[in-house]
């Protein structure tokens, strides 16, 4: 888990006249879960969107598996092996659950074995396989969004706030699925505001503020230091 699958060096991104990212330096280890933390507006979602090519960086370098991907169109970045779960889930509401999954597979159809695994993680998706995705509940949509990213093996998964606005039962289902994905050796960069979930899943962590990484280290280090959490994120959690 020592070598990095993704590195960002000095990445700067502007949206219209606003400077959003001011030189992000980040390294995501292969085969581990990196949690990207920070308060609202720190630049976490912008970082994921910049990696995905949905926003073009103004400066800096992004490499995936040693090859530069900054400046490539999002479709090519996805084809290099990145699965993306956006903050708004990006579900195609007019398509069925089945069609959403089919579209996410770059092969004509997802493999049956992979689908079995997805349905074992998210049984609700099998129940509603032929229903219109727009009729799913918020939690089911999030399951579909994650299922879509993992329906084929990817080199790296970018997951943006999977637990946002969801009931504890759904968060537990998602956490189980993500833990399972992690146990298969997946490399994940995840934005999460729910610190308990972040602590449970993360191996390493990076904290952002004002468009920069202000701290990076292991999740164990951050979890153990309440003062550090408070200083970095304004959290008042009890250290464990």
């Amino acid at each position: 888990m020592s070598d990095a699958i993704l590195t960002l060096s000095g990445v700067k991104t502007d949206i219209a006249q606003y400077h959003i990212l001011h030189g992000v330096d980040l390294s995501v280890p292969r085969g581990g879960v990196t949690m990207l933390l920070g308060r609202n507006g720190a630049g976490k979602t912008s970082t994921l969107r910049t990696i995905m090519g949905l926003w073009k960086p103004r400066g800096g370098e992004i490499t995936l598996d040693g090859a530069r991907i900054d400046g490539l169109p999002p479709s090519q970045i996805a084809r290099r092996g990145i699965g993306f779960v956006p903050e708004d889930m990006g579900i195609f509401s007019d398509l069925t659950v089945d069609e959403n999954l089919r579209l996410a597979a770059l092969a004509d159809r997802p493999s049956p074995e992979r689908l079995d695994w997805v349905f074992a993680a998210f049984p609700a998706l099998k129940t509603f396989l032929h229903s219109t995705a727009g009729n799913l509940s918020g939690g089911q949509k999030q399951m579909l969004s994650i299922a879509r990213a993992v329906v084929e093996d990817r080199a790296l998964y970018l997951i943006d706030e999977p637990s946002k606005g969801l009931a504890p039962a759904i968060v537990a289902t998602l956490a189980r699925a993500l833990r399972d994905l992690k146990s298969r050796g997946a490399s994940i960069l995840m934005v999460e505001q729910n610190f308990s979930l972040a602590r449970a899943l993360g191996d390493t962590a990076a904290v952002m503020d004002d468009g920069k990484i202000i701290w990076a280290g292991t999740m164990a280090e951050l979890s153990a230091d309440a003062a550090l959490q408070d200083r970095l994120m304004g959290l008042k959690l009890e250290a464990t």
Partner: protein, 344 residues
């Protein structure tokens, strides 16, 4: 922390009446045919009018099918579509005039080959024109309807003038191939042979378009791209290329419609495409934006309505299509089978 309860949803089926609701527009065509049967005294007249109306509807569908892709799916109001119809008609007519030995021969095979060659040439030329049109005129104005109307109207004028430059200002008479002239008699009704060909072409086109959009990966990408192009890109598909392809396909279908319409009218002018655009917009709107099924039902309804009303009350024929559009939009404000619901 206590364990969260399992998430185990179940499906409850809607009552039959609710499940049937989306399919109600399909009944419109048979209901109209039955109403026509009750209102028209002679069965032979009714049959003739019905087949003519369906053929007219199929023709309108062929012409409007490209528009439903471009306007309905891509949300581009392209007045240049009328010019593509005219261009298709002129290119097709030139091919047919060059193949008079085939069109004049009393052989169905040779006649159909000539028509097919004309259609392929027209589709190829209008497809290429559509590609250029998208690159130069439409691409800078995606997302702005007002600008689209202005620039594509300009494009329409330029394209019509190009027709004058290439083919001259006079109208051209094009006769149907030998075996497609005349009519057959069936149950006392007179059925023009060419109209039957139009019905067959329209049906095949409908089934192909529906099949591609509903059952292929490309169709999935197009339908998803209409709703959320950014996410489609993030899944690894080049949506710009797909949309250019859709625009080219829509333009090529206008070329096909142009050839069919030219042989239907047997006379072509540079404005012929523009003149039928009102009907095309009516069909696309009452069908529901982006819906091939809706466009098909809408076109058949318009064709039948126009024929029945012209026979029963000729003066009302002038307003029958507008009245139909008003009635359908009052019933279903989004059109009969809307596809593009997710757009704001």
């Amino acid at each position: 922390m206590t364990a969260a309860p399992e998430h185990a949803p179940t499906i409850t089926h809607l009552p039959l009446s609710e499940r049937l609701k989306p399919w109600l527009p399909i009944l419109l065509v048979p209901v109209l045919i039955i109403a026509g049967y009750l209102a028209i005294p002679q069965t032979s007249s009714w049959l003739t009018l019905t087949v003519s109306g369906l053929a007219m509807g199929m023709m309108i569908f062929v012409i409007a099918s490209g528009m439903t892709l471009v306007f309905g799916l891509m949300d581009v109001i392209n007045f240049g579509h009328g010019a593509f119809i005219s261009f298709g008609a002129f290119v097709g007519t030139s091919v047919l005039l060059a193949l008079t030995s085939w069109t004049g021969a009393p052989s169905l095979m040779l006649n159909l080959l000539a028509v097919s060659a004309a259609i392929l040439a027209a589709m190829a030329v209008t497809g290429v024109i559509g590609w250029g049109f998208e690159r130069v005129i439409v691409r800078p104005v995606y997302g702005s309807h007002l600008k689209q109307i202005l620039v594509t109207m300009g494009g329409l004028i330029v394209a019509e003038q190009m027709i004058y430059v290439i083919w001259g200002g006079t109208e051209i008479v094009i006769l149907r191939p030998d075996t497609l002239k005349g009519a057959i008699t069936f149950l006392g009704a007179t059925l023009e042979k060419y109209r039957l060909v139009a019905v067959a072409v329209g049906l095949v086109l409908f089934l192909v378009m529906r099949g591609v959009l509903r059952h292929t990966k490309l169709g999935l990408i197009v339908r998803a791209g209409v709703e959320n192009p950014e996410m489609v890109q993030a899944l690894g598909y080049n949506i710009t290329r797909v949309f250019v392809g859709v625009f080219v396909a829509g333009s090529a279908l206008a070329g096909l419609g142009g050839v069919m319409w030219a042989l239907y009218q047997e006379i072509i002018t540079a404005q012929m495409g523009n003149e039928i655009m009102i009907l095309v917009f009516i069909v696309v709107i009452i069908g529901g934006l982006g819906s091939v099924e809706g466009c098909f039902i809408g076109a058949l309804t318009v064709g039948l309505m126009q024929n029945y009303v012209a026979f029963l009350e000729p003066k009302l024929a002038l307003i029958s299509n507008i009245a139909l559009m008003v009635a359908i939009l009052m019933w279903r404000p989004m059109g009969m089978v809307p596809v593009v619901k997710a757009k704001g």
